[in-house]
């Protein structure tokens, strides 16, 4: 059997479609140059030095006790954060899906799941220090403890858990909703108690999903840079160690080798999560719930669970609220009245806040549409078309998800500071706004692609085929059929990309040059210096911007989105 002719014809058809060909070639170039190459150069740099090929750099960094300690620290934090976030997420999801709760509690849950999306990833560290630090509002003023040390292991664990558990909560919620209630009813009918039902039916069904959530959080925690930076104190993780190795010790080869180690850890985790657990989850929980679940109304169950979740939620919300309030106090820790706007004024008068916001805003607003369009094009190609290099495009754009920002940052430094492969070619790129935009795009591309793929999978393939069959070429199919059908998804991808870009820090902090001031970098700097009021003022304005753009998106989707239109039509 020879499949040669079919493949040759497919190739010929592809060639007859110049727009599609160009798109594919450009995409492959982009992905190779800005995702694969920076990672490859890290490996090359750490193995291939002035004396040729050797493991010298690796053995050097592994001899540093600080590096070995950073590995243990990172894994320890990641493991504990993974478990705590998964459990907390499961608790929230269970209460939401299984327990009858009051409207107010439901509202709290919504806010909690929303907050991490619109806030920079490290604001909780700020408020943690402000509430529980040495001059913390709670520790010092309410409890009278003067020497509470929040910096270090527990600080990171608490802050990361509170930052990442909403993600687990959303994941678990999706899974629990897919469990067919009749399975649990069958178990109950045969005499099992609620607890027994949970342990013998619900939990086993959820197990792969729990593992999945654990690994996702684990990866997030390992890759997190800003929280350990602000609240870690002397407790260094891999991400911060790499950063210090570059900015402090100026040891670029060492940093490259460390980045390779960090990358290997996250990639390994990611491989397990993606190719093993995700499939298993889909296999056990593929069915749709056949009917509505009877909610638990038993007060001995509902009251403790609701109280527990509400308190956690209120605590989290309080921590976020602490940020704008902190920016209003005259002197945090000493003088609380009268409330003042002087910090906000100083942001703009003293600390060139206007430039910081302008730079961040402009770079992000350029990156967002590029990211959204790119991820839609990738998803379209992956879901709807077949061609040879499709696997490559899909793999690389998903792979980028597992690359910690710090690793990418080091990769860009090594890869572009002296041009491609240190030859000077394209070296003009380094230090420009363009490379910052590219980093923003690469960092948001995986999430955009993933949601684009799931949106496109829901559209019947034959709709596009019929357009193609009627005589439309690829570009026409994409613009006249695909894009209008996923307008909502495109719009939310646009906003997500914008929010992610404007709140990004880990990769960008390594690449930013003095000619660009970025808000997140400013916040980090002021937090490091202990100027929390200024940091809070910056963070508050940032949250207002991001929250505003999310509100705007919801408004647009509600009034001009496709789903609204079809819904109206159906009701007629």
């Amino acid at each position: 059997m020879a499949r040669g002719q079919g493949a040759a014809l497919d190739r010929k058809k592809l060639m007859a479609d110049p727009i599609m060909m160009t798109t594919i070639v450009l995409l492959i170039t982009f992905l190779t140059l800005f995702i694969l190459y920076p990672l490859a150069i890290l490996l090359v740099d750490s193995l291939y030095g002035s004396e040729g090929f050797s493991f010298a750099t690796f053995s050097r960094i592994f001899q540093m006790s600080s590096f070995r300690r950073a590995i243990t620290n990172t894994l320890k934090v990641g493991f504990v954060v993974g478990i705590l976030s998964t459990l907390l997420g499961l608790l929230f999801a269970y209460v939401e899906v299984y327990v009858r709760m009051r409207r107010f509690v439901g509202g709290l849950f919504k806010v909690v799941s929303m907050l991490p999306v619109v806030s920079p990833p490290f604001v909780l560290s700020l408020s943690m220090i402000m509430l529980f630090g040495r001059s913390g509002l709670i520790t010092r003023f309410l409890l009278g403890i003067y020497d509470n040390n929040i910096y270090g292991y527990w600080g990171i664990v608490i802050v990361q858990t509170l930052t990442f558990f909403p993600v687990c909560y959303m994941m678990m919620k999706g899974l629990l909703k897919n469990i067919d209630p009749s399975m649990e009813e069958a178990s109950r009918d045969m005499g099992a108690s609620r607890w027994k039902v949970f342990t013998t039916v619900t939990l086993p069904l959820l197990l792969p999903g729990l593992g999945n959530a654990f690994l996702v959080t684990f990866i997030e925690s390992i890759a997190d840079f800003a929280n350990p930076m602000i609240i870690g104190g002397s407790y260094d993780t891999l991400a911060t160690t790499i950063y210090l190795q570059i900015t402090g010790a100026m040891d670029k080869e060492g940093a490259a080798a460390m980045a390779v180690v960090l990358l290997c850890i996250t990639l390994g985790m990611f491989a397990v999560q993606k190719y093993y657990l995700e499939k298993k989850t889909a296999a056990t929980l593929s069915g749709k719930a056949s009917r509505v679940r009877m909610l638990i109304e038993d007060k001995s169950v509902t009251i403790p669970l609701t109280v527990l979740c509400s308190l956690t939620a209120i605590f989290v919300i309080m921590m976020y609220v602490c940020v704008p309030i902190g920016a209003l106090f005259p002197t945090w820790g000493y003088k609380f009245t009268p409330l003042t706007f002087k910090w906000f004024e100083q942001v703009f008068t003293k600390y060139s806040g206007l430039q910081a916001f302008r730079d961040s805003f402009v770079l992000s607003i350029i990156a967002a549409p590029i990211t959204a369009l790119l991820s839609m094009i990738i998803s379209y190609l992956v879901v709807k078309r077949k061609f040879r290099s499709k696997g490559f495009i899909e793999a690389v754009s998903i792979l980028a998800m597992a690359v910690p920002g710090t690793v990418l940052g080091v990769g860009y430094i090594r890869g572009f500071a002296n041009g491609i492969f240190h030859t000077g070619f394209l070296s003009g790129l380094y230090g420009t706004g363009l490379i910052l935009i590219i980093v923003f795009v690469v960092r948001s591309l995986p999430t955009g692609t993933r949601s684009g793929i799931s949106a496109l999978r829901q559209i019947d393939k034959s709709i596009e085929e019929s357009a193609y069959d009627m005589g439309a070429d690829s570009l026409k199919v994409f613009t006249s059929v695909t894009l209008p059908l996923i307008k909502d998804s495109f719009l939310s991808g646009l906003v997500t990309a914008f929010v992610r870009s404007i709140t990004a820090i880990s990769a960008i902090i390594l690449l930013v040059t003095p000619s660009y001031l970025l808000i997140t970098v400013q916040i980090n700097e002021f937090a490091e210096k202990g100027a929390f009021s200024i940091a809070c003022a910056f963070a508050t304005i940032l949250i207002i911007i991001t929250y505003g753009s999310v509100l705007l998106m919801n408004f647009i989707i509600k009034h001009f989105g496709t789903s609204r239109k079809t819904k109206e039509v159906k009701q007629q």
Binding site: R3, G6, L9, D10, S462, E465, M470, T562
Partner: protein, 362 residues
């Protein structure tokens, strides 16, 4: 009525077409379509019929250009089209799921292909109006597609394909999402329009009654190869295999031994009784008699003795299962009012006219 008359309809020829797929489980290659040779005359209505996985849809998609054949060449109107992309082929397809554009109204859906062909606005208006009249959807132009019933959506899909006046019209199980009554109505409709326009149509279905009702020719496929092709009556009364006989309607198979020729018929032994079967070919030895349930009569007198195992009133006919020797035979006794109704356990005899039976070599 200008604009609704098709251009010159085109013939389609498949020259030893094969398509190879990889089995995702075993990783082994297999022929989804194997060495299919077909010559479809311009203006004819041909149905690709077969169970799921027989390669009928793959064949259709190769003609449309969504799949590329691994062997062989496809000709449309005499031109080889293997290397053409779907948008460059003179075909239009009606999809199983209709595949209407949900963000366009009826008019824009139908006009889509014409706009791509840069047809002037006035002409688009005229042609769309005409074609909507033909599919009986006048005054629906401004509706969104999700305001339409299943049957109406189907008509829009048909209109959208017809309006571009394709050389060949392709149907991929277009009626399988409709309820039974509407399905019958729509297939008559499709046939009427196809004949009115004189367009070439290739139609994929797994429903044998649909295939018989609608086609000039049926191509029955199994496991990627053509099992039999011919007119509906030919395939129904002269199946060349047990598979074909069984797939096209219900069928009984009586084991027999051919004795010899008697005029137009062959004499054959069935469980010790001799019966006559019409055949223009000569056979000898053992074989099978193919008998349709409605071709059998049941009475107190007849050719083969049997015992009734099931007797069931079905409205238009009395359904019997009887045992002849070791073989279970199904009988559909049409309009049994006034005749004797046999009950379970009764002894009876069955008979059939020789021209209603057909012999298969075992």
């Amino acid at each position: 009525m200008s604009g609704t008359k098709a251009k010159e309809p085109k013939g389609v020829r498949l020259d030893h077409i094969s398509k190879i797929y990889k089995n995702p489980k075993t990783g082994q290659d297999f022929y989804a379509v194997h060495d299919v040779e077909l010559d479809i005359k311009p203006g004819s209505f041909v149905t690709l019929l077969g169970p799921s996985g027989c390669g009928k849809t793959t064949t259709l998609r190769m003609i449309a250009g969504f799949e590329s054949p691994d062997e062989g060449e496809i000709y449309l109107g005499g031109e080889p089209i293997n290397a053409l992309t779907p948008n460059k082929r003179d075909t239009a397809m009606v999809f199983q799921s209709y595949a209407l554009f949900p963000h366009y109204n009826v008019f824009d859906n139908v006009a889509y292909g014409l706009k791509l062909r840069k047809v002037p606005k006035d002409e688009i208006k005229e042609r769309v109006t005409n074609i909507l009249k033909l599919v009986e959807l006048t005054d629906m132009e401004q509706r969104m597609t999700n305001q339409l019933s299943g049957g109406q959506q189907q008509r829009v899909a048909l209109a959208r394909a017809l309006v571009v006046e394709p050389g060949v019209l392709l149907f991929d199980e277009p009626l399988s999402n409709l309820d039974a009554k509407l399905r019958v109505q729509m297939r008559t409709e499709i046939r009427r329009i196809q004949q009115a326009l004189g367009i070439t149509a290739i139609y994929v279905t797994h429903d044998q009654s649909e295939a018989m009702a609608i086609s000039d020719n049926i191509i029955l496929m199994k496991g990627g190869v053509i099992a039999q092709m011919g007119s509906p009556t030919d395939i129904y009364y002269h199946p060349n295999s047990e598979f074909v006989a069984d797939f096209i309607g219900e069928c009984n198979f009586l084991p027999c031994t051919v004795r010899g020729r008697e005029g137009q018929d062959l004499a054959a032994d069935v469980y010790g009784n001799t019966v006559m079967v019409r055949s223009d070919k000569d056979y000898s030895g053992s074989g099978e008699i193919v008998l349709r349930p409605e071709a059998i009569e049941i009475a107190d007198e007849g050719m083969l003795p049997c015992k009734v195992e099931l007797s069931c009133f079905m409205g238009s006919y009395q359904n019997y299962h009887v045992r002849v020797g070791d073989t279970l035979v199904k009988i559909a006794d049409n309009c049994p009012v006034g005749r004797k109704i046999f009950q379970v356990g009764d002894e009876a005899k069955i008979s059939f006219r020789s021209e209603c039976a057909h012999i298969l070599k075992a």
